[in-house]
């Protein structure tokens, strides 16, 4: 009876949980279950929004990006540590387990069950399906049964609830009593601390399983699903179980495990007796599952448990683990180790067991063996001795090991796993702990020949899968190919029976999942219609991907389902998913709806329409209608404007849902309409005609969640309307909206804000109306401190206010909030600042009058000075935007602003200093506009004094500020004078911090460009040496700035010295450095005319060193690229050098020379240098047979360059010799050249084609060309 009670209580709780999930609110988070303290899910979204899709779009992007292992390119540039030393893990993240970043809701995927395959009516044809095969009817019947059962349980629970409320007058512990007998017994004698402990332990087990509705009946449990350990097992009914040969660790599959299964444990032993001892005994795991169903299933599924040292549990089903948690009193460590175990824990346990084994009482035989035969005598026990008989004591006593009582040399069991992972045979990749239960069989080194062909096939599949999952990339590649090629040979059944359980493995990592999903995708493609019986199985595994937080996982999931539906066909897909549509579990319905939308996008919406129509009108259950309508919503979200052709039919299908009796159906209908309108925008208003009336009636009659959804729908429909209608409807809805301004519900607030934004931005709504009717209430209700605390509210409010400002102008909005810049709450001030920034940046500051301007500057200064938080950008941007918008009007305030800046530049906090410097950079232009040059000069001096800054971030900002000042006031007026400033910068060039380098080189480059004469040449040479180091920088921008600076310096002090420095640098080893040097040489040549550089450069070619010579050639190549047609004066000068290079043995010589020839030819095309070019072409041409890709590319490009410079006819003549050469290799190359020639100048070739002789039947000549007048 007690047992029953517990079960009912649990069901109730589950119900309640599920209801909660289904509601609009987010799921509450069980703090007990995951630890209340500093929680590792901090900052995570605890639930995915079940209804509100756009949250995904606006809110969590940043979050998701942060917690995902994958990141986009540009972002990684910002985040990756670039330091050259001490970064050992740069760029690499530890493989991340999926389960670690999942929330409760997503984790429910693990509770789903891979159902057995189903009948494929297409394959069987007319024949009646074998009774053993599950048909659609079976599945539907089971589903119905499940529903009935669920309802019945609900009923019972309700009754119990009533009884309970009746009995509420009785003392409270009733609730706990229902939970577990043990708790109760502990209460009297256990200490308070003990109680606390137990209750926290208890939570593990009492945690309500939020999915009561998993179809346990048709279960093929997946090994490794920890979820099986949840108490809901109790409801499992073994009579309905379909035993499948594949499952080994199943709960009921091993009822015959001998007398050791707990079910068969003598009642007198532990379970009933312990309570007396509860105060002393270590808290034992409390579980509500029925004892009869008890099996080691949970243990088998977890990683190595003490009892289950034999991972063989998975392949030796008969062996029940010995000495496990269920049998002996669990050793303290064993209690909470249901999940994965750390190696330390495992070792500890092993050690403990070892000690116990040694400390057990010695037997007579052992004693006989130990002692000499004579001189000893066995005494009778004293009369007073009574052996311990009480079970309670017995519990405390060292447990008698159930295994061998004696030490024996262990049987050699090859299959056994020891704590060191065994070397996998046959070149298999490393197996992780969790993999043993799937791949353990591979470790059995039995003779392959002894296995049946079926088993061999299974082995083969397992091997390949293991290689895909854990192997090296080449292993993986070949394994994947084999799996694909042999897919039909292996057959769908064996393949999916191996792959799918792996995907349900709780410890799966992103990468592994990706690979396995890829396997499915490939295999699907090959198997085609053979997958039909497995469609549902696959869906169970793949559907969770559709709600994964990783974008790529979602895309992958969609792709698989789309391929699956193409392979299996619409009918099979519908048959597979239909039963899930009114599943009692919201999770299942949610994922099914999403999967259906993918099917719709794969097979076309029209194909699905009849089905959708039927589902949405289902009389049987509201769940079916709800899911049907949700499918429409998902289709809209997934397909976007592609719904337009079917918009009317989709709206018609769901419109009746607006007046459904069930509130949830009404809500989802409104949300679906919103999604459809959003997808259709800005078209399709006529399709929504039929729902306008119910929607408008709805917003008057509904309250709460439904109203929110209705408002959302209206918010998306209004922008589709004509201006006149939009204005009318806006005024209608605004009454309700204004009423709801006061709603305390967060969700409602967000929706109201969004709708206001949408209404305000439509054309027909006039500024006056907004100003008079909306603004007062809007500001009164929303512009409050509380709104700044929630990030999403904050964003939405700022967006909406900016949108309103676009209509009513700056002055109105800024005037209303400007006072709040001095509010005492910092987040609120920040929100105000951000709004002002956006409004002012959008609309300028011309509307702002003198009084407001004063208030604004005052407020901004206050907010800027009072900020304490780290996120300084909002204040900085706001300040910059306002000052820039006001322009010259800031003049009176500049002294005050500069005072603040100066004060903050001297602040203790580095952040503050950095921000102050950044601010100078932003307002420098305005200061110039205000003619405050003296002030700027002063700031320049101040900044100059701070160049000793030690924080690189701050130093970078200070340099940036100096640069801004130098830029606006010019070199001559700069204070400190350039001649003082630059020497101070030279040592800073040594700084390795990227930001410092970038700002410093920019500043130095600027000075070299504009004010080089202020600095002595010696200083510039010194800088040149420093700059060489900068060429090593990782950031391209820095290298580019450096190279340009060389040019400026060379221009200022003449090229000779700079060139000498650069040419010397060609000898260094590092490639990047040399490449940059060659670029710098080319730039110097460009800025100072080539004749100043070429002699020295060509002279350098005589140095018998590969690097130097190549460097020279590369410089020439860049040089000719940069100087373009100026090259015609130098082409004869460099030709001998290029001749030599093109004949060099070294490939790189020829390659680089060829690219120099290319640039040269392109530069001098049409300038009368054909003689030299033909000469060079004769040197280039023999290289056409090179095979190295770089070389051949360079050669081909050189020939292309020649085509441009010499004309296609010349190159064609070179080509003709080889087009019909007897050697194919030769022909191939020549045709390749011909083809590029042909593509480049097809028309020009017409005049140059050779004259071909006519043959007997064929005319090849072109008589037209010989016509002459």
């Amino acid at each position: 009876m007690d047992h029953m009670d517990a079960e009912i209580a649990k069901t109730q709780e589950e119900r309640r949980k599920m209801e909660e999930v289904a509601m609009l609110t987010s799921v509450t988070f069980d703090a007990d279950l995951y630890g209340g303290g500093p929680d590792r899910f901090e900052g995570y979204e605890r639930s995915i929004p079940v209804t509100d899709e756009e949250e995904e779009a606006d809110g969590d992007r940043r979050d998701i990006a942060r917690r995902m292992a994958s990141y986009t390119g540009p972002k990684s540039l910002n985040e990756l540590p670039r330091g050259s030393e001490g970064e050992d893990d740069s760029g690499f993240k530890k493989p991340q387990r999926i389960i670690d970043r999942e929330d409760d809701y997503r984790r429910r995927r693990l509770q789903r069950i891979i159902s057995p395959e189903r009948n494929d009516p297409f394959a069987t044809g007319e024949a009646t399906p074998d009774p053993t095969v599950r048909t659609y009817a079976d599945v539907m019947r089971e589903q119905a049964l499940q529903r009935q059962k669920e309802e019945l349980l609900k009923e019972i629970a309700k009754k119990k609830e009533e009884e309970k409320s009746k009995a509420a007058t009785e003392p409270a512990p009733a609730a706990q009593k229902r939970r577990n007998r043990w708790d109760q017994s502990q209460e009297p004698d256990g200490g308070a601390a003990k109680k606390a402990k137990t209750s926290s332990v208890a939570s593990d087990w009492d945690a309500p399983d939020s999915t009561p509705g998993i179809g346990r009946w048709d279960a093929t449990p997946t090994p490794g699903r920890v979820a099986d350990a949840t108490p809901s097992v109790s409801r499992r009914n073994r009579w309905d179980e379909t035993p499948t040969p594949g499952r080994l660790v199943d709960a009921d599959a091993t009822p015959a495990a001998g007398g050791v299964t707990p079910g068969a444990t003598p009642a007198g032993m532990t379970w009933d007796a312990t309570p007396k001892l509860a105060g002393l005994a270590t808290p034992t795991p409390k579980r509500q599952r029925s004892r009869w169903d008890e099996t080691p299933a949970t243990m088998g599924s977890a990683t190595p448990l003490p009892g289950a040292v034999t991972p063989a549990a998975s392949f030796t089903p008969g062996v029940t683990p010995v000495g496990g948690v269920d049998l002996a009193t669990p050793t303290p460590g064993a209690i909470n180790l249901r999940g994965a175990m750390t190696p330390e824990q495992y070792n500890l346990l092993r050690w403990e067991r070892d000690i116990e084994e040694r400390n057990r009482p010695l037997t007579d035989e052992e004693l006989d063996a130990m002692f000499p035969q004579e001189g000893y005598k066995i005494l009778d026990p004293p009369a007073s001795y009574v052996p311990i008989r009480t079970p309670a004591r017995k519990l405390l006593a060292t447990p008698t090991p159930l295994g061998t009582p004696l030490y024996a040399i262990p049987e050699e069991n090859r299959g056994q796993q020891f704590d060191i992972p065994k070397e996998a045979p046959g070149g298999l990749p490393f197996m992780k702990q969790e993999d043993y239960q799937y791949f353990g069989a591979l470790l059995n080194e039995e003779e392959e020949e002894q296995l049946s062909p079926e088993e061999q096939k299974e082995r083969k599949i397992m091997k390949l899968l293991l290689k895909v999952k854990n192997g090296t990339p080449p292993q993986r590649k070949t394994a994947l190919r084999q799996l694909t090629d042999k897919a039909r040979e292996f057959g769908a059944g064996p393949l999916f029976n191996k792959i799918l359980p792996l995907l349900m493995q709780p410890t799966l990592e992103d990468q592994e999942r990706h690979l396995l999903v890829k396997v499915i995708d490939r295999v699907l493609y090959k198997l085609d219609e053979l997958v039909r019986p497995f469609v549902h199985k696959i869906l169970v595994v793949i559907e969770p991907l559709l709600i994964d937080e990783d974008y790529y996982a979602r895309v992958e999931g969609r792709e698989i389902i789309s391929n699956l539906s193409k392979a299996a066909g619409l009918a099979t897909m519908i048959a597979a998913m239909r039963p899930d549509i009114d599943n009692i579990d919201e999770y299942v319905r949610n994922t099914t709806a999403r999967a259906f939308s993918v099917v719709a996008s794969a097979l076309g919406i029209p194909a699905l329409l009849p089905f959708l129509k039927a589902v949405c009108q289902s009389k049987k259950s509201w769940q079916a209608r709800h899911t049907g309508i949700k499918i429409v919503q998902q289709i809209a979200i997934l397909m976007g404007c592609a719904v337009l052709p079917h918009l009317r039919s989709l709206v018609e299908i769901i419109e009746h849902g607006l007046s459904d009796e069930n509130q949830k159906v009404r809500t989802i209908t409104a949300l679906s309409l919103a999604a459809l309108a959003e997808a259709a925008a800005p078209y399709g208003i006529e399709s929504f005609d039929s729902v306008l009336k119910p929607l408008w009636k709805g917003i008057r009659s509904h309250r709460g969640k439904v109203l929110a959804a209705f408002l959302k729908a209206i918010g998306f429909i209004i922008p589709l309307m004509d201006a006149v209608y939009a204005s009318y409807y806006t005024k209608e809805v605004m009454i309700i909206l204004i009423r709801e301004f006061q709603s305390p519900d967060e969700e409602m607030k967000k929706i109201v804000l969004k709708v206001v934004k949408q209404c305000v931005s439509t054309e027909g709504v006039e500024a006056d109306y907004i100003r008079n009717d909306i603004l007062p209430e809007f500001f009164r209700n929303f512009w409050v401190r509380r709104m700044a605390l929630d990030r999403r509210n904050y964003k939405q409010l700022v967006d909406t206010t900016v949108e309103i400002a676009n209509k009513v102008g700056v002055a109105d909005i800024v005037g209303r909030i400007v006072e709040d810049l001095k509010d005492e709450s910092e987040p609120y001030r920040r929100m105000v600042m951000e709004t002002i920034e956006k409004v002012v940046a959008n609309l300028g500051a011309s509307d702002i009058d003198a009084r407001l301007e004063e208030l604004l500057i005052d407020g901004i200064l206050y907010a800027f000075q009072e900020q304490t938080s780290d996120d300084a950008n909002v204040m900085l941007n706001g300040f910059g935007a306002v000052v820039n918008a006001l322009g010259q009007r800031v003049k009176p305030y500049l002294p005050q602003i500069c005072g603040t800046i100066k004060w903050r530049l001297n602040n203790k906090s580095a952040k503050v200093r950095q921000q102050a410097a950044d601010l100078i950079a932003r307002i420098a232009i305005v200061m110039k506009q205000c003619k405050e040059e003296q002030l700027m000069g002063h700031l320049g001096v101040v900044l100059y004094e701070y160049l000793g800054e030690e924080y690189p971030e701050v130093l970078g900002s200070i340099l940036g500020a100096l640069k801004a000042i130098v830029n606006v006031i010019g070199m001559t007026k700069m204070t400190p004078p350039i001649k003082d400033l630059l020497p101070r910068l030279t040592p800073i060039l040594k700084n390795r911090h990227e930001k410092v380098q970038e700002n410093c080189i920019d500043l130095v480059g600027r000075i070299a460009d504009r004010g080089a004469e202020f600095v002595p040449a010696r200083e510039w040479m010194r800088i040149c040496f420093e700059l060489l180091e900068m060429l090593k920088a990782h950031k391209k921008g820095i290298r580019r700035a450096t190279v340009n600076t060389f040019g400026y310096i060379a221009k200022a002090i003449g090229p000779q010295d700079v060139l000498a420095t650069l040419l010397n640098n060609l000898k260094v080893q590092e490639r990047q450095n040399r490449v940059c040097t060659t670029v710098a040489i080319a730039i110097v040549a460009e800025t100072c005319s080539p004749f100043t550089v070429l002699p020295a450069l060509m002279n350098e070619y005589r140095v018998p060193e590969l690097n130097v010579q190549n460097g020279v050639l590369k410089s020439l190549s860049f040089l000719f690229e940069y100087i373009g047609e100026m090259g015609k004066d130098y082409i004869y000068a460099v030709t001998p050098l290029l001749e030599d290079a093109l004949m060099d043995r070294d490939l790189v010589h020829r390659q680089t020379a060829a690219s120099a020839v290319k640039h040269m030819a392109l530069g001098v095309a049409g300038l009368g240098c054909e003689d030299a070019l033909v000469h060079l072409l004769n040197y280039v041409w023999p290289n056409i047979f090179e095979t190295s890709p770089h070389v051949i590319n360079a050669v081909m490009e050189a020939i292309e360059g020649m085509r441009v410079a010499l004309g296609a006819a010349v190159i064609l003549n070179y080509c003709l010799q080889g087009l019909f050469h007897p050697a194919r290799k030769v022909r191939e190359v020549y045709w390749k050249i011909y083809n590029s020639l042909y593509i480049g100048s097809q028309d020009a070739l017409v005049a140059a084609y050779p004259t071909l002789e006519d043959e007997t039947n064929n005319v090849y000549s072109r008589p037209e060309l010989v016509m002459f007048i």
Partner: protein, 89 residues
Amino acid sequence: MDLKASDRFNINSQLEHLQAKYVGTGHADLSRFEWAVNIQRDSYASYIGHYPILAYFAVAENESIGRERYNFMQKMLLPCGLPPEREED
């Protein structure tokens, strides 16, 4: 070995793509006839495309320009006559 095969496949597929895009491009197994056909067609296309040339031919042949254009277009169909019998090899 494997790599080479895929590599070759790759280049071939590139060539196919090229030929799909530019009909006149050739390859190592192109016969004299096929090349000549390409040349002829390119030539006629070029004559038609350059109006002065077309006018020149019209004067030389004492035909109207339109007739001349029509003739050239007709000739593009089988510019070199029927293809020769493929030699079995």
